[in-house]
Symmetry: C2
Subunit: 594 residues, 2 copies
Amino acid sequence: MPYRAPVRDLAFSLTAVAGIDQVTATGAFPDYDGDVLAAVLEAAGQFSEGVLAPLNRPGDLAGAQYANGAVTAAPGFADAYRQFAEGGWTGLAAPVHAGGQGLPKALELAAFETVHAANMAFGLCPMLSLAAIEAIEEHGTEHQKTAYLPRMVSGEWTGAMCLTEPQAGSDLGALTSTATPNGDGTYSLTGQKIYITWGDHDATDNIVHLVLARLPDAPAGPKGISLFLANKYLVNVDGTLGDRNGFRPVGIEHKLGIHASPTCVMQYEGATAELVGRPNEGLAHMFTMMNAARVGVGVEGVGIAEMAYQHALAYALDRRQGRSIWTGEANAPIFDHPDVRRTLSVMKARIEAARAICLSTGVAADMARHAGTDDERRFWKGREDLFTPIAKAWSTDMGVDVASQGVQIHGGMGFVEETGAAQYYRDARIAPIYEGTNGIQAMDLVGRKLSQDGGASARAVIAEMKATLVEVARLYAGKPVERFATAITAVEDATLWLLDAKADPARGSDVLAAAAPYLTLMGDVIGGWMLAKGALAAKARLDARDGDPAWLEGKIALYEVYAANILGHASSRLAAIGQGGDLLQRMSREALGA
Amino acid sequence: MPYRAPVRDLAFSLTAVAGIDQVTATGAFPDYDGDVLAAVLEAAGQFSEGVLAPLNRPGDLAGAQYANGAVTAAPGFADAYRQFAEGGWTGLAAPVHAGGQGLPKALELAAFETVHAANMAFGLCPMLSLAAIEAIEEHGTEHQKTAYLPRMVSGEWTGAMCLTEPQAGSDLGALTSTATPNGDGTYSLTGQKIYITWGDHDATDNIVHLVLARLPDAPAGPKGISLFLANKYLVNVDGTLGDRNGFRPVGIEHKLGIHASPTCVMQYEGATAELVGRPNEGLAHMFTMMNAARVGVGVEGVGIAEMAYQHALAYALDRRQGRSIWTGEANAPIFDHPDVRRTLSVMKARIEAARAICLSTGVAADMARHAGTDDERRFWKGREDLFTPIAKAWSTDMGVDVASQGVQIHGGMGFVEETGAAQYYRDARIAPIYEGTNGIQAMDLVGRKLSQDGGASARAVIAEMKATLVEVARLYAGKPVERFATAITAVEDATLWLLDAKADPARGSDVLAAAAPYLTLMGDVIGGWMLAKGALAAKARLDARDGDPAWLEGKIALYEVYAANILGHASSRLAAIGQGGDLLQRMSREALGA
């Protein structure tokens, strides 16, 4: 089953829905234009199709291997990584001064979707490097930016993010790793970190670890955490690599999926480290780049779903069983069974909705940095903040569902590992968990992002959706219009209810009980908005005879499918949003059978 | 993580919700009473906890093994099977004349839930045997009933169901295996069957294969299929085993889950076989016992969900992160985070709803056979027919979702195989596929079960739900009542719409497009009805001071959780039900990106 990068859909989502052209006007991307967009997506697609996809199943079977304190990447992965770096893919959106190409983040996200789709285990390596690059770019010293950053941007070295400890997962404030000053400006780092993605491997000569730890005099809890940088090999003044530093992997996890991505337990035993940013502000420093990492995980959800979808679609076109109710053909492709067609259509609709949410978040991130005025930058930062938890959680939940439906469409074949559908189902399952579980994303949305600006960003989205509704009513009649209108009202009602509840300290558990259903409602409705924008753009192109009519007609039907199957549910989510914390508290240990 | 059989919940579901006491009045179960119910569930629970659960993870790791034309069960499984047979568990509901215990099917289903929960791969072996027993009991010759049935009921031999061929899965009419008369009353069977669960193993001396094949003069398609019986070892007149018969496994599948259940490719090469039932009516014969096998798979969905739930609940009570919003405790169990409590509560509510649907289907099956009058038997057969596809599909979809949420509650630990949560996620995935995919169940529901009696069975359910609604309005006020009322109306509207659409041959694709969403709606609302009945029974017991108050209060809160999180969505499913086949047909190959 070959992967075909959905280059046409990606370009459409970036231009017609996410509005990437807005970034051109900022002047911050002199090397970016529509031709560059097309060329980057085409080349990324070719690399993902030709180099990464063929390694996906072998990588799942062989896995990364650990032995004697070192990790070996799965066969072919180290070489693929070197090709990836040589192709310039590690520095697509990195600053030009650090050797990057200075292109928009949104375009990088779209290119990376093809990487994650073709080989999710591989994609994690550059994804985590990007997060480390961003942290150093934002908070590093001049020395760090000069000595390390260019070699990470070029892909010569990779980066790893080292946060979690056994007792400190969602609650990083509980971490206990320590860093004590050596007196020469460096620190001695000691502790154990778990779940360190690509924390060790043999694909590059050096790995830059960014590690959260506590200074000796640090206050307890989240305000006593600092960010440190530790190289796998100490770097000499002339840039050559010196001695091995005092940390190593002590094992890798045996996981449900992404077998080719080594998930390391790392032991730091007096490792030499440098402080990044200000003492005791490590958590805040980490969070400044969390948005980028989280939307990256959302894109992983889209990618794995796209792969599962393509696989299922190909099977449905190939596998013949029974008679078509549409054509009367005997022994017809199961594609012609309405329930299979419905399943595929809903899969496609949800993928395109999630893709547009993620890429819109990327555009917002670009604009938040580069828009012309403070007000504009504030507006876009609010959009980025609001969309990020939705992009992460909604897209990754979708990824699990779509991968599961991909197995289902294969029937018995889906449960047989050789087919490949099962791997997506296994791989997809991690994305709702890491970079902050989807429950944490929901708490972030209602606890911080929704109310940090008094609800202004949410209100702006609602106003824009209402403007789109006016246009939707020109393209469609009846249900597809009514469903969007009802859905917008549901978002408005839920948002007001939540802002109100948040204002009352006694209703804290009501807000938290509502968090996940509210995030799902937001994703469902914003996703519908995205597909509506796509349908409107497709109609305009159809009228202008600009593009493949069958494909453009598909965008118009796709919104209707989404409206019937997803938007139709939106208002009913209010029941779960309003269930209240008291009801859940009544679900005691005894009630739950413990 | 030990498994604890939910004996109290199972007994409650059977007696207070599914109404098993009705079978007593039929007089067909002289050996059954409330004490027997308690004793059977207790003993089944102990066996599942003590013998089967400890083999679950080792069985997943080792798997069944194939070598040199024979399958070896995973370590410990053959011995466990012999203990299972010695305990009388293979003949719980089988007729007394064949050596069974003659107990109600509904009680057997409840006992088997603990088997599937503790070890789903193991449970498949007796489950498939039961289907074979039922086929022979219903359609076999006197010789077959005398020579084979008692040894299958006793568990001395197992049975296997051999239907699928590579080109004939959902469409069994396409199968090509042949059986030619040998002239002595036996047949010579040739062909290949795939996905044969426990088709070969070393746990018993003999295996009775029931095989669908074509006679030489058979018409093409589904009306030319006959049912045959072929023993792994030929059975001599004196009952001793003779020569090896002409079939053997040629391989087993490498699967996503249920590794300890061998899924065989079987090759029949002139195997000696006997006809079961009438020539060319094999498919109909097979379908007479399909109801039982399908509800059995539904119970598998409940069992695997219960296991995943218990595992997640135990983790949530043990794992500490962050502060409780309810108690203020620092470093509190994550059980005290509202979103975790909500997730667990919804998991529990859906499990109890599915359990009651399956056990109600079992009671209906018992009553359909044993009720006193033709009218009553017809009524209960209609109920059994209507509920069966819902019990199968809704419960197994729930099983996948709940197993996925079980992984999620574990956070990163859930993705690590050692934890065990991942196995449930892998194992659960097969249940929506086999014994007729859930898409096939939905087609069966709208294409046959709903309309075969002009909608009478569906109307009867709606009328009973309305009667329960009156009582619900005495126990609750406001939303929990409104939501049930709205949900019943949605079922009524959807049912009328479908009966209407079915009357119009031009609307065939509309009906098929609606099938899966309609099944989900039915399951959602009937499940809510079940929990409401449970809440009403719990209230009566509370008032009578009969039972653990905290547990009974939990049943009352559980309905409210379900009403807010599931019933609240019911009416919105009408949008998907009414989407129509034309819209799906517009989702062309081009629109879907093929």
